[in-house]
């Protein structure tokens, strides 16, 4: 008998997302699109206001997010992320982030979502002597990834930012991103994709304790004592701030609330 895609308790799934998506009751209405304004009256994008972001504060050694029982909308807004960082180089492609053989796992199924997390960055070459996730574990000790250029290049697989988010990554600070990966990160709200002004990956080492101050666009490496300016989030800000593409579209009146 074919298994159909069912979604037990969406709250469990969404609580592991970086940006809390509000649990919605399934609407019985059809999905007729009823625009309330012309596309040309698209609101000018505002710059990011971190106090509006609904994140939980991140504590060091992020525990398995799916075990959290807190309801998404009751989490206080956070303005910073803190924890150990994991450093990778340039051109980390989606096959290194989540190898193709694991793509039979469907991200919208909670148990498979969790499994995806356990395979995050398992495709990195052996030159990365420190594993991102210990064998047998489902989540990582490193909630923050520091990367070089073109992070997330390759495939359009949304499983990539999903696996990182499921593993407990809250933010990536990269020199630059590949387009589809960045888009998927924003649309899902799984991880916060930040850009650095300089090659932070050359100055940080895996295991360094870092803090990202979102409001000040600042990365602090407590282990080295150095600070770095981060680039403003740009056009993706309002989408991230709203909580992903669906929340943003509802706010903009593009789809019924």
């Amino acid at each position: 008998m074919a298994a159909t895609a069912s979604l037990p308790n969406p709250t469990t799934f969404s609580s592991s997302s970086l940006t809390r998506r509000h649990h919605r009751q399934p609407s019985p209405s059809t999905t007729t699109f009823t625009p309330t304004k012309q596309p040309s009256s698209f609101k000018p994008l505002i710059s990011l206001s971190p106090t509006l972001i609904r994140h939980a504060s991140v504590i060091p050694y992020v525990t398995n997010p799916t075990s959290s029982s807190s309801s998404p909308s009751s989490s206080p807004p956070a303005t910073s992320f803190h924890g150990h960082c994991y450093v990778v180089r340039d051109n980390i492609d989606t096959d290194q982030i989540i190898p193709a053989e694991y793509l039979t796992l469907v991200p919208s199924k909670p148990d498979e979502y969790k499994k995806l997390g356990s395979y995050a960055l398992i495709g990195l070459p052996e030159s990365y002597t420190t594993r991102f996730i210990e064998p047998g574990q489902y989540s990582t000790k490193y909630p923050i990834i520091i990367a070089g250029d073109n992070f997330g290049c390759g495939s359009s697989r949304e499983h990539a930012p999903v696996a990182l988010g499921a593993a407990g990554v809250v933010a990536v600070v990269a020199e630059s991103y590949a387009r589809i990966f960045f888009r998927n990160s924003v649309a899902t709200g799984e991880i916060y994709p930040l850009e650095s002004e300089v090659r932070v990956c050359d100055e940080c080492r895996t295991g360094d304790v870092v803090t990202i101050e979102l409001g000040e666009s600042r990365l602090v490496n407590h282990t080295t004592g150095k600070e770095y300016k981060l680039k403003p989030i740009g056009d993706a800000g309002p989408v991230i701030e709203a909580g992903g593409i669906f929340a943003y579209a509802r706010k903009a009146g593009m789809i019924p609330a």
């Binding site: 074919a2 999905t31 051109n91 039979t104 250029d149 590949a178 579209a249």
Partner: protein
């Protein structure tokens, strides 16, 4: 392996001339022109004019998904729009199982069942189903690799917007349309609304001129370009391919070119529609379509000019598509196997080209050589089309005589890896020449 002698000279690749957007201080300013990509965005967002960098909601003409991402897309769709929600247009969704098909992996098989159940529930018009995995020919609806199937089934049309849950969706840009890859969440959104929020990309222009030498294929052209601009050289940009060489290319060759736009980080690849395009489309689609063309005064980020007569066959060496090398400089690299297939290199013309090389060589292959046609139609062509200059032999005959493995079931196959029992999958480190990317 090629029999012609090569011109031993530096490839002609002009230093890019950054073209500034027209200054707005022009006296009697005429409306600044738009590139064809910008025009497609304008039409799709019901605007008369827009500029790169703007974020617009566009109407999507076709949404494609396959067995790997389909279940996730469906999950998002049902979660966000409700279990009883209907797709925005049952005729604009094309669902194509092609990635992990011929495998005993239970989850992979389940994923095809999921997209079938959804297609039935939603009465999706275009679902290219496969139920008998033991014999692909027993499945009349099954096509194979999604990007080739989209073209062969007439879903690619000039001027339209096509999005798909696969990075190589950019292949369809060969038809003069905007086509790009998106993730499950974006696709779930399109499934419910028929719209997508996209940023208008600026365009890189590649002008390829000169008569295409018979020892080159479009694959060499795009490897030349990727090697020049790097795997992030086209990030967030459109790659527009024009010039006399482009005009001489077949649709399949244009598809190869656009297919690898993503390997340069490109948002999309695009070729203006012309007589070749319209001829290909004859009999494939009944939907009306209106091509668009870049204005003469359109602005480009940069323009690259290439004289193809100065190019040589290329390879992309491990481990990056931009690690460009001359094929003749790699002739002593020992290979363990050869794989001919995928959306890039598994089309009919790719196999015809391979067959001609093997025919000219007259030798047997020295390593296991795997043949994986992209679609059922390509598979048929291998067994029916005569190879030019062979005295009436088919590709399959030439491959057999050369000692290649028999053509296998059409699908993405081992290109992406997939489940461990995928045909021709490399399960330990080996040197493989992939005639894809």
């Amino acid at each position: 392996m090629a029999t012609s002698s090569f011109i031993s000279s530096q490839p002609s690749f002009h230093i890019p001339i950054p073209k500034q957007n027209k200054p707005s201080t022009k006296i009697m300013a005429v409306k600044t022109g738009m590139t064809m990509t910008e025009k497609i965005f304008a039409r799709a967002s019901e605007r008369t004019k827009l500029s790169p960098g703007e974020n617009v909601w566009v109407n999507v003409d076709v949404l494609m998904t396959h067995d790997v991402c389909g279940p996730g897309v469906i999950g998002v769709f049902k979660k966000e729009f409700g279990d009883d929600a209907k797709v925005w247009d049952r005729e604009k969704v094309v669902i194509i199982p092609d990635h992990y098909i011929f495998t005993s992996d239970e989850r992979a098989n389940r994923n095809v069942d999921i997209i079938r159940d959804f297609s039935n529930e939603q009465n999706i018009k275009y679902f290219y189903d496969i139920t008998d995995r033991s014999n692909f020919k027993a499945n009349p609806d099954y096509k194979g690799v999604c990007h080739i199937a989209l073209a062969q089934e007439g879903h690619c049309r000039p001027g339209e917007i096509l999005v798909g849950t696969d990075s190589h969706t950019c292949t369809a840009g060969a038809f003069g349309q905007f086509a790009t890859g998106i993730g499950n969440t974006d696709a779930g959104f399109v499934l419910g609304t028929g719209k997508l929020l996209l940023k208008v990309p600026p365009t890189l222009r590649f002008v390829l001129d000169g008569e295409m030498p018979d020892y080159l294929l479009a694959k060499d052209l795009i490897l030349q370009i990727i090697g020049e601009i790097s795997v992030s050289g086209a990030t967030y940009k459109a790659m527009e391919f024009v010039g006399t060489t482009i005009e001489s290319l077949s649709m399949e060759e244009r598809m190869t070119l656009c297919n690898m736009a993503i390997e340069a980080g490109g948002k999309n690849g695009i070729v203006p529609a012309d007589a070749t395009t319209f001829k290909y489309l004859e009999g494939k689609t009944s939907l009306s379509h209106e091509p668009v063309y870049s204005d003469a005064q359109a602005g480009y980020v940069a323009e690259y000019r290439i004289d193809v007569t100065k190019l040589e066959p290329l390879v992309a060496k491990p481990n990056s598509p931009d690690n460009r090398g001359l094929a003749r400089e790699c002739k002593d690299v020992k290979l363990d196997r050869v794989y001919i297939g995928s959306c890039t290199g598994g089309k009919t013309e790719d196999f015809l080209a391979a067959a001609r090389v093997l025919l000219a060589s007259g030798d047997k292959v020295k390593v296991p050589t795997y043949i994986v046609p992209a679609t059922q139609k390509v598979w048929m062509d291998l067994y029916t089309l005569p190879v030019p200059g062979s005295g009436g032999k088919t590709c399959s005959q030439i491959f057999e005589q050369a000692g290649c493995n028999s053509p296998n079931s059409p699908s993405c196959g081992a290109c992406m890896g997939g489940p461990l029992d995928t045909y021709a999958r490399m399960n330990e480190p080996q040197a493989s020449l992939l005639v894809n990317y």
